[in-house]
Amino acid sequence: MKQIEKNIKAYEDNFTTMVPTGFVKFFRTCVIWQAIRFIIINIKMLLVVRKSH
């Protein structure tokens, strides 16, 4: 949340968008969770690749 406090200023462009909380940011680099996402994203991409060939 410190990053949000530092980067977001009232009524600047970035004031009206969503920003990730610490929870979201933790899971972005959580190795166990990302290993699971690695498999899931690869499967999703392979489905798109298969549909496109």
Partner: protein, 489 residues
């Protein structure tokens, strides 16, 4: 024995040449004409541009690969196409000019039965005063990551900025250098990699990072943006892209046509007609793309360049170039076979084919300056198109001229894209995206134009692992190492 000539050895041309040669074996000749001696995995140039990779990590020599494949490789640039031959001969040919060391400037006529234009783009730096050097090359005021050598130079300049930032404030600007640019994705990746590296170097607080682009909204990416399912919503790419810029403390200026660049300063005009100036210590601005400037002549020697190419220099194919206004655009406007309508033995793949129109909605300032992203034809679509044309030519060679051509419309294919936001085995992140179809089809998918079951995106470490894996996979595939045909485009 037929001769198939492929002009260009980038992603699409290399794909066409290598698959076609594998299929035709010694029965037919496959000739590649490309001015480059090395193949470059361009998506990794952004890592060269921040010093996380070396040039040698993203390139390899073409000659031994083509020798292994049995492909006739001419290190030369194509100059002109003569699709009707010349007075003394009916045989169509192209003229080439060698760039190979020791043969520089030598010209030659190369006859063909089938011709594939895969020349990619001319990096049109001179379209913006001060962005180029006046001779078509990158100028002294900014850097680029469009080629491996550009990226090496960009990193050298960036290191100087980081060194200065240890003691004083520095301003970095990244984005597009003209109102008609494409490839926002490369600039997107570069700006977040710079931000990531500035943090690692401990100088982030002294570096002010600014985005400038011709997109009417952040997250347009030249494909009119996309929607992805997240948290039970179908959310716009604008929301996710803005969120990332806000999170990383990067300011943005959008809907901007950079009209002039000087040392340490650029001028721009925005969609609302306002103009402004932006000062910088370091700027990486993507140039607009144009065709490479090929000429075409008929049998009598008359210039027919305008018949074969559109005004930007891209080769006309089986697209609907008369669609007119945005409201009339349809998915079916997009080409399927990439065959030239006048000369059926000429095809164009990758960036070299002329798109029927933009994908993003056309926009211009009150002064009439067009400010909109032009359509991307890179990455996965260019590989698929290259392989599709190889299939078609193979069938034409083996089944005769009546063979049905293979099809691969960008309005009927998806794309997987991984945009790096910082490199590191455990600290890196990347946005992993898929979009289906690339060109939105508002008739088939009313409202959003895309199939939400196949259009998704998320940012995280997994995306970085995927991008790094793809780097090695595609370099393996392009070098025709064991199992290369199993790796999809």
């Amino acid at each position: 024995m037929a001769k198939v000539v492929i002009m260009g050895g980038g992603v699409s041309g290399h794909t066409t040449a290598t698959f076609l040669k594998k299929w035709v074996g010694d029965d037919h000749d496959v000739i590649v004409v490309t001015p480059n001696s090395q193949w470059n995995w361009i998506p990794s140039n952004i890592w060269v541009g921040v010093g996380e990779m070396k040039k040698k990590d993203v390139v390899f020599d073409l000659a031994p690969v083509y020798a292994k494949a049995g492909i006739d490789y001419r290190q030369a640039k194509a100059v002109s196409i003569h699709p009707e031959g010349k007075e003394a001969s009916e045989k169509p040919f192209i003229t080439i000019e060698y760039t190979e060391k020791g043969k520089e400037g030598q010209t030659e006529e190369v006859e063909y039965d089938y011709l594939v234009n895969a020349t990619g783009p001319k990096l049109n730096f001179d379209a913006t005063p001060g962005l180029g050097n006046g001779n078509g090359q990158l100028g002294p005021n900014t850097v680029s990551v469009c080629t491996a050598d550009h990226a090496v130079h960009a990193n050298e300049e960036l290191e100087k900025i980081f060194e200065k930032a240890k003691t004083q404030k520095q301003k970095i600007v990244v984005g597009t250098g003209h109102g008609m640019c494409t490839c926002q994705g490369a600039a997107f990746e570069y700006i977040f990699n710079i931000e990531h590296e500035a943090n690692k170097a401990g100088v982030r607080d002294n570096v002010d990072i600014q985005w400038i682009s011709n997109e009417s909204f952040i997250g347009d990416f030249g494909i009119g943006g996309l929607h992805i399912k997240r948290g039970m919503y179908a959310a716009s790419s604008k929301l996710f892209a803005e969120s990332l810029y806000a999170e990383r403390g990067i300011k943005w200026t959008i809907g901007a046509h950079v009209s002039k660049v000087e040392k340490g300063k650029l001028e721009y005009e925005q969609l609302d007609g306002t103009t402004g100036e932006m000062e910088f210590d370091f700027a990486m601005l993507i140039p607009p793309f144009a065709g490479v400037g090929l000429k075409a002549y008929n049998k009598a020697g008359d210039d027919i360049t305008g018949d074969l190419f559109n005004p930007a220099g891209f080769l006309k194919v089986d697209a609907n170039y008369a669609a007119g206004a945005y409201e009339n655009w349809k998915a079916s406007d997009w080409p399927k076979t990439y065959q030239n309508p006048t000369y059926s033995n000429i095809f164009a793949v990758g960036i070299a084919f002329a798109p029927p129109h933009l994908i993003s909605k056309p926009m211009s300032s009150p002064n009439g300056t067009p400010i909109n992203p032009t359509p991307p034809r890179t990455g996965m679509p260019s590989g698929i198109i290259g392989k599709t044309v190889a299939h078609s030519i193979y069938d034409l060679l083996t089944k005769g001229e009546g063979a049905e051509l293979h099809k691969a419309s960008m309005a009927e294919m998806g794309a997987a894209c991984v945009a790096s936001a910082g490199k590191g085995l455990f600290t890196g992140t990347a946005a992993a995206l898929t979009v289906y179809p690339v060109v939105p089809d508002f008739e088939k998918y009313p409202g959003l134009g895309r199939d939400l079951n196949y259009t998704f995106g998320e940012i995280g470490l997994a995306g970085h692992w995927i991008k790094h894996t793809l780097h090695h996979m595609f370099l393996w595939k392009a070098q025709l190492k064991p199992g290369w045909t199993l790796i999809p485009e």
